[in-house]
């Protein structure tokens, strides 16, 4: 043991020495670099007269200080480098397998050891690991090299300054330390050309052109240079050094114009800025210095579009959705979209604002059809904005060009099919890796974090495809639904795994969560692949059927005509048929379906052989044999067509059967919900009629339900505040998730009036809230994250803990004072119990059917079977409570059953919508796909892959209204109803804008 510790210490001392050496080198080199850099700057300052000998010692002191400061920074670490624990931490980071053993050995050396033998083993292991680490690995010289590079660069810069600047580094030092040097150099400067009248106190007053909307602007103590847009009238006032008798103003070297001279020394004149040039006063023969006129150009508007896609391929009715922004110095009058179709340009107006804003933005929402493009056309689009320049004429600025390719229905379907296949194949590779991952991927935080990084990289090819595939089109298809599900699930898994980073062992609960998320993600990827695959296969089969039927028809015609054809004509027709068949074979090669491909291939072999035999028979003059073979060929092709058509019909039938089953389940769920609701109302009526003494319990339950709702809501709001910590070692995310789950459960139990479960959940919840509060407090103590946000979180958690405590008290009271049910109410409940039991039995049957439907759906339908089963259970619970004469649990069970039936219906509706979208996608009906999405009230969204997945909202343009007041009213009216959160945000923004104005 002692020997191991000694070895460790010796190694650690070696590491410390190396670190100290590195730090000293860094300090020296940094000081040198800083000194060179500062010296070069000093030379520049002296050359440009910024630095003078008056402040010479200050400058020189600054130069010296720069070197000292730069050198001192690395030296601060010099003492700390001697710390063995610091070196040990470095080694632990390099050898994660040590799992803290090295630190433990060091710590235990100073404190009484627990188990000496264990410590000895640990020490031996740590010593071996430390021995295997080279000092250069612990403290690489990379930083030293970088600083050395900086020093060399600074030295070079200093050298260049010496060559380029009028006063080199040496002269600059001399100038600062010896005042006379400046004078000596000044004597070397060239003299001015001729005498000039001195002017002082120059004041310029600019009167801008009206279109700029700018107020007059005065510049006192000006250096005389004029900076203004053309058309600006400039009024100049100045005082002369000596009294003068006459004054005139010369502008742009034109004939002198009169200038006003007051009391011999105040001179005044004005001119209009037309372009670059100069002005001066002239006093008799003596001119003032020339002053430059520098026109500020009124540049064309700056226009940009926000999209990552520069090439969009979309259908004639596909929406181009491009967010754009236009800015101009003085105002915008029009925004257009310019369409350049084969060199022929035309403009379509996008906006014509009622006022002249300097900044305008919006989302360009047009379709190729609305731009006058036809299917198959390609064009270049750019957004243009016109300014309001009334002097030199209105100018337009344009965004970068977006190329669009307009696909016909077939082209669009082909494109989608191509990308779907690519996406599926890319996802298959992603799945392969996830399937072979160990679960969990590691037991240390660092391992999980490393795995998350690698897992994220698996998606790169897939993400690229998504970007390519959805340039500006169709965000509402099933593909988009699928991609959103994938993205959300992926984020959940990877951010959780990343957040576990650190050298510590992952807590068991987090490990379980990680494994669960891994499994769930695999399921999501599998589901995505199968959905894409189903669409791809259905589309491929449809194409194949079309071709096979055509080929069979051609073969039948050839068979009919065969007797009447001479040899060359027969061979020619056979060639024609073969070409068609080859096209079919090429299509079938694209099939990715084992049995179907095998089937087509085997038939292809038959057809090839038959065609060869027919040719041979014709050439040899065996026309009877050729005829027989031709008959067989026609029959073979017909059989093939029939079989593929059968397959299609089978698929269609399966789809129809599934649809019918879904409709049946839907009908049953609706009836269950309705019947359950009616029975609950009757139960409530009975309780109200016969259960006067129940009111107290009713009120308590209502209060518990309300409080549980508050807890759920407040914890939901807590999430964004704790979100930043998920990415750190603090794993509050999972604790928060658990607390939220408990809260939802508590709320469900309260709604279900399930006293025992509610009590249990309230107790659990109280504990888990305490744990969450502890985590937040720990984060505050360790100063992890934003202290303000953490303090808010801590207060919110505390408040919810109080609410849960209140719930516990209410539940306890109810448990102690179970109300007695009146005999009349008991009788009535028992009479209704049979009816309730029937609902439970019906629900069980429906759950079986829902399970079958879920089994046959190509996608997950979360909540369908589970919801129906839960409904059945709750209905059964209600029936039992009714038989026992307990109205409150009965009502609760009935309410919970209703909720569950509704949830199952929602799940079924969602699955049904996805299925319809998939079916339409299989048929390549892009238009239908998009319109399908719109049925559900989803708006159109911007076009690139990432944007496609977001839910941007757009306000109507103000100019669509006659007055700003109408616009404001329309906005306010729009906000009156229930609106999504995004609209509320827009509303807030609108008011913020008003305040700013």
């Amino acid at each position: 043991m002692a020997e191991s510790v000694a070895r460790i210490k010796a190694s650690l001392r070696g590491f410390a020495r190396r670190e100290q050496r590195n730090l000293l080198l860094q300090a020296g080199l940094a000081a040198f670099a800083a000194w060179c850099l500062a010296w070069a700057l000093l030379a520049a300052a002296v050359s440009s007269d910024v630095a003078s000998s008056a402040e010479g010692w200050i400058w020189l002191g600054g130069l010296a200080l720069a070197g000292v400061v730069a050198g001192a920074i690395p030296l601060r670490e010099l003492r700390a480098a001697r710390d063995a624990r610091r070196q040990a931490l470095r080694v632990e980071a390099l050898r994660p397998e040590l799992q803290g053993a090295l630190l433990t050995v060091l710590d235990r050396e100073t404190r009484p050891p627990g188990s000496p033998s264990l410590l000895a083993r640990l020490a031996a292991r740590a010593a071996a690991a430390v021995d295997s680490v080279a000092p250069a690995l612990v403290h690489p010289a990379a930083t030293v090299r970088r600083v050395a590079g900086l020093a060399v660069a600074s030295a070079l810069l200093l050298g260049i300054a010496g060559l380029v600047l009028p006063r080199g580094p040496i002269e600059a030092l001399a100038a600062l330390s010896a005042p006379d040097a400046v004078a000596e150099i000044a004597e070397d400067l060239p003299e001015a050309d001729g005498p000039r009248a001195l002017l002082g106190d120059i004041t310029l007053r600019y009167l801008y052109p009206t279109y700029t909307g700018r107020e007059p602007f005065e510049v006192p103590n000006s250096n005389g240079e004029v900076h203004a847009p053309p058309g600006t009238v400039v009024e100049v006032r100045a005082r002369t050094g000596e009294p003068q008798e006459t004054a005139s103003l010369v502008v742009y070297e034109r004939a002198p114009a009169a200038a006003e001279l007051v009391e011999g020394r105040s001179v005044r004149g004005s001119f209009t800025v037309e372009g670059p040039g100069a002005w001066r006063f002239v006093f008799g023969e003596l001119p003032s210095p020339d002053y430059a006129i520098v026109p500020d150009p009124d540049l064309a508007p700056d226009v940009s579009v926000q999209t990552k896609q520069r090439v969009l391929s979309l259908a004639l009715d596909g929406e181009i959705s491009l967010p754009w922004t236009a800015r101009d110095d003085f105002g915008l009058t029009r925004v257009v979209v310019e369409v350049d179709e084969g060199g022929k340009k035309r403009e379509v107006e996008v906006r014509a604002p009622v006022d002249v804003p300097r900044v305008l933005d919006g989302v360009l929402s047009v379709t190729p059809a609305s731009l006058g493009l036809a299917a198959g056309a390609s064009a270049k689009l750019r957004v243009g904005a016109w300014d309001n320049d009334a002097v030199s004429g209105k100018k337009a600025g344009y965004s970068s060009v977006i190329e669009i390719e307009v696909l016909g229905p077939r082209g669009r379907a082909d494109r989608q099919a191509k990308y779907r296949k690519l996406l599926r194949d890319a996802l298959v590779l992603v799945l392969a890796d996830f399937l072979l991952d160990p679960a969990p991927p590691g037991i240390l935080g660092a391992e999980a974090s490393t795995w998350a990084t690698a897992a994220a990289a698996r998606y790169e090819p897939f993400d690229r495809l998504v970007q390519e595939a959805w340039g500006g089109a169709e965000p509402d298809t099933f593909d988009a639904t699928l991609l959103r599900a994938l993205r959300d699930d992926r984020r959940g898994l990877l951010s959780f795994a990343s957040g576990l980073g650190g050298t510590a062992r992952i807590a068991d609960r987090d490990l379980a969560m990680l494994v669960s998320l891994q499994g769930k993600h695999v399921e999501t990827v599998e589901n995505g692949i199968l959905m894409l695959d189903q669409v791809i296969r259905a589309a491929a089969l449809a194409t194949l059927e079309e071709l096979v039927v055509q080929a069979a028809k051609e073969a039948q015609e050839l068979k009919s005509d065969f007797q009447t054809l001479d040899k060359p004509a027969a061979l020619a027709r056979l060639d024609q048929l073969e070409r068609l068949y080859q096209q079919l074979a090429r299509e079938s090669a694209k099939l990715d379906d084992g049995a179907l491909r095998d089937f087509v291939n085997s038939r292809s072999a038959q057809v090839d052989s038959l065609m060869d035999e027919i040719r041979k028979a014709i050439r040899e003059g065996r026309m009877d044999d050729a005829k027989e073979l031709m008959d067989r060929l026609a029959e073979t092709m017909q059989e093939m067509a029939d079989q593929i058509s059968d397959m299609q019909q089978q698929r269609q039938k399966s789809g129809e059967d599934l649809q019918k089953a879904m409709e049946q389940v839907k009908t049953e769920l609706e009836a269950l919900e309705k019947d359950q609701s009616a029975l609950r109302e009757r139960t409530e009526s009975a309780r109200e009629e016969h259960g006067d003494d129940m009111q107290e319990a009713v009120d308590r339950w209502k209060e518990v339900e309300r409080l549980a709702g508050v807890v759920v809501e407040q914890l939901g709001k807590l999430d964004p505040e704790l979100e930043p910590f998920r990415a750190t070692a603090w794993s509050g995310g999972s604790v928060l998730g658990e607390v939220r789950g408990d809260a939802a459960g508590l709320h469900d139990s309260a709604r279900g009036r399930d006293l025992d479960t509610a009590l249990l959940r309230a107790d659990q919840m109280y504990g888990s809230l305490g744990m969450l509060g502890g985590r937040v407090s720990a984060a505050i103590r360790r100063q992890k994250g934003d202290p303000t946000a953490l303090a808010v979180s801590a207060r919110a958690v505390e408040a919810q803990q109080k609410n849960v405590q209140k719930i516990r008290e209410l539940l306890d009271e109810m448990a102690q004072r179970q109300a007695q049910t009146s005999p009349a109410l008991q009788r009535e409940l028992q009479q209704m119990a049979e009816e309730q039991q029937q609902i439970a039995e019906r629900a069980k049957g429906t759950a079986e059917k829902a399970g079958k439907v879920a089994e046959n759906l190509p996608m997950d339908a979360p909540g369908l079977e589970e919801g129906t089963r839960r409904g059945a259970e709750q209905a059964g619970r209600a029936a039992k409570a009714m038989r026992d004469g307990e109205p409150m649990p009965a009502e609760g069970g009935q309410r919970a059953a209703e909720d569950a039936f509704r949830e199952a219906q929602d799940a079924l509706d969602e699955a049904s919508r996805n299925l319809r979208q998939m079916q339409q996608a299989s048929q390549g009906q892009g238009k239908g796909e998009r319109e399908e999405g719109k049925e559900d009230g989803e708006g159109d969204k911007p076009g690139d892959g990432e944007d496609m997945l977001s839910q941007d909202m757009a306000l109507p343009a103000p100019e669509a209204f006659r007055t700003p007041e109408e616009y404001r009213r329309a906005l306010l009216q729009g906000m009156e109803g229930e609106v999504p959160e995004e609209y509320k945000t827009l509303n807030r923004r609108y008011y913020e804008e008003l305040v700013r104005q």
Partner: protein, 517 residues
């Protein structure tokens, strides 16, 4: 081929001249076609006589004549209307058929790839006559006609059965109207043991004749099922694992199908599982009968049934001196002694026509689309050259507590072969063949691996079994041709090479034609 019906013709002497139309119809019901034909020829020109002649023509396979005769008989009762519809449907279903004849056996089929069935169909019928006929007390007179229907649609049309009944119970062949109606194995996605089925239907034909059609369905099916493989085997084979599992389950839960429920046809039972259980029950009853009373027992039962004895009573008379309970108890004891496989296995679906996809022919995956999804994912992973990941998905597709479905075993073996795990691939396929013996594709893959391992005789067994289920696979026919050549059987090698050629040309045989085609 020897004229094996010639001996039966001696039995026709009992028929009387000038007998009534009813007697002629009784001959038909007793599957005595020569008797019916003689009576019809002398029955006069009444509508009833014309109808009888039409029935005789129909039973003789002269469908156009049958239709013409029945139409000339004029409108009659509902039965005549039904017969007219049936004759028309049969005429359509057999449109384009050609006939091959050997001795008194006629086989009708549609020219094309079904030609590969004809030789072996003749052989199976001949063997059934020679080996099974004596066990049942002889074969009916007048030869036999068999039709091979190329598609489910044609078979269903000619059978007069509702399509749903065909799909539900897996009926692919019938013995009816003194003819055998058989569906070509190519009409089923996975093929089937079609030669045993021919023998099975032929047994029905014999039993109907021997009992004057008095045998109840359970006895008919019991005899047919227990004897159907005796045309090429000496003893009935052990029940298939699937049937064993059904029997074991039914015995344990006392859910055996009552004999009465098997009337009027197994085709009308509730499900394919129930029909399979019923077949297993009655088949094992007949095996038990032969074991307790000897090879002549079944013939003796038929004699008793012919004279009106209740079938179960007749069975007990022959098997246990008339004590039905003792017979049934003995049968149950025998079943218990069989150590039936009790693990859960699914029924092979009868998929007439092209299945919806790869899994439509699978007993498990056809009904479990969730599991089929995993199998499909495995396929995609395998095609992406990720065999190890594919195996993970394939394993997910195995239902809990059940062996791997057959279509899955074939895929798993492919993935295992990619990973060079040949022994695992072999073990997977052997297990699958044991659980699901009637799956041609598994046997073909197994044969292929055995061949690659230099085991031609074992490979031959598997390829042969594969061809017996699905003779339309040109690869299997080619492999058989090569194997027979290498094992020194040029005759069979030539036959399978010819089949390979027929299949290559989609059934075209320039210069060769059916007997009347």
């Amino acid at each position: 081929m020897k004229s094996w019906f010639a001996s039966s013709l001696l039995l026709l002497s009992g028929a009387a001249w000038g007998a009534s139309v009813d007697e002629g119809r009784a001959c038909l019901e007793a599957s005595d076609l020569p008797c019916a034909a003689r009576i019809a020829a002398t029955a006069g020109d009444s509508a009833a006589a014309l109808a009888l002649r039409a029935e005789v023509a129909f039973a003789s396979g002269q469908f156009a004549d049958a239709l013409r005769l029945l139409e000339s008989a004029g409108p009659g009762d509902e039965q005549r209307a039904r017969d007219l519809a049936l004759y028309r449907a049969t005429l359509q279903a057999t449109d384009g058929f050609v006939t091959s004849k050997k001795g008194d056996v006629e086989i009708r089929y549609l020219p094309g790839t079904d030609l590969v069935l004809v030789d072996e169909a003749f052989e199976a019928l001949q063997a059934a006559h020679d080996r099974i006929g004596p066990l049942l007390g002889g074969a009916p007179p007048g030869g036999i006609r068999m039709e091979i229907y190329p598609s489910a649609e044609r078979f269903t049309k000619a059978s007069g059965l509702p399509p749903e009944a065909v799909q539900t119970t897996g009926v692919v062949a019938l013995s009816k109207w003194t003819r055998l109606l058989v569906t070509s194995p190519r009409a089923l996605g996975r093929g089937y043991a079609w030669k045993d089925t021919i023998a099975h239907e032929y047994i029905h034909y014999i039993v109907a004749w021997r009992t004057q059609d008095r045998a109840p369905v359970w006895l008919q099916e019991g005899i047919a099922r227990s004897h159907e493989s005796l045309w090429h085997l000496d003893e009935p084979p052990i029940l298939q694992p699937y049937q064993q599992s059904l029997l074991a389950d039914a015995l344990a839960n006392d859910t055996l199908v009552p004999l009465a429920r098997m009337h009027p046809s197994m085709a009308f039972l509730d499900s394919a599982d129930e029909a399979a259980l019923a077949f297993a029950q009655v088949s094992t009853m007949m095996v038990h009968l032969r074991e307790v009373a000897g090879d002549a027992a079944v013939s003796a039962v038929l004699d008793r049934v012919r004279v009106g004895t209740d079938a179960l009573k007749a069975t007990a008379d022959v098997g246990t001196q008339g004590n039905v309970d003792t017979f049934m108890a003995g049968w149950r004891e025998r079943l218990k002694g069989m150590h039936l496989v009790s693990r859960k296995l699914a029924a092979m679906p009868t998929v007439l026509g092209t299945p919806e996809d790869d899994f439509g022919i699978d007993p498990v995956l056809a009904n479990r689309r969730d599991l089929a999804g995993h199998a499909r994912l495995g396929d995609l992973l395998r095609e992406a050259d990720r065999a190890e990941a594919a195996l993970v998905e394939y394993n997910k597709a195995i239902p809990d507590g059940e062996p791997a479905p057959p279509t899955l075993s074939a895929r798993m073996s492919d993935a295992l072969l990619t990973l060079k795990r040949v022994d695992d691939a072999l073990a997977t396929l052997r297990a699958s063949v044991s659980d699901y013996p009637e799956y041609a594709s598994t046997r073909k893959r197994l044969g292929s691996i055995l061949l690659s391992q230099g085991k031609p005789r074992e490979a031959l067994v598997q390829y042969r079994a594969s061809a017996d289920i699905n003779p339309f696979d040109p690869d299997v026919q080619a492999a058989l041709a090569d194997l027979y050549t290498s094992l020194g059987d040029p005759s069979l090698a030539a036959r399978h090479a010819r089949y390979r050629g027929i299949l290559a040309l989609g059934g075209a045989t320039p210069g060769e034609h059916g007997d009347d085609g």
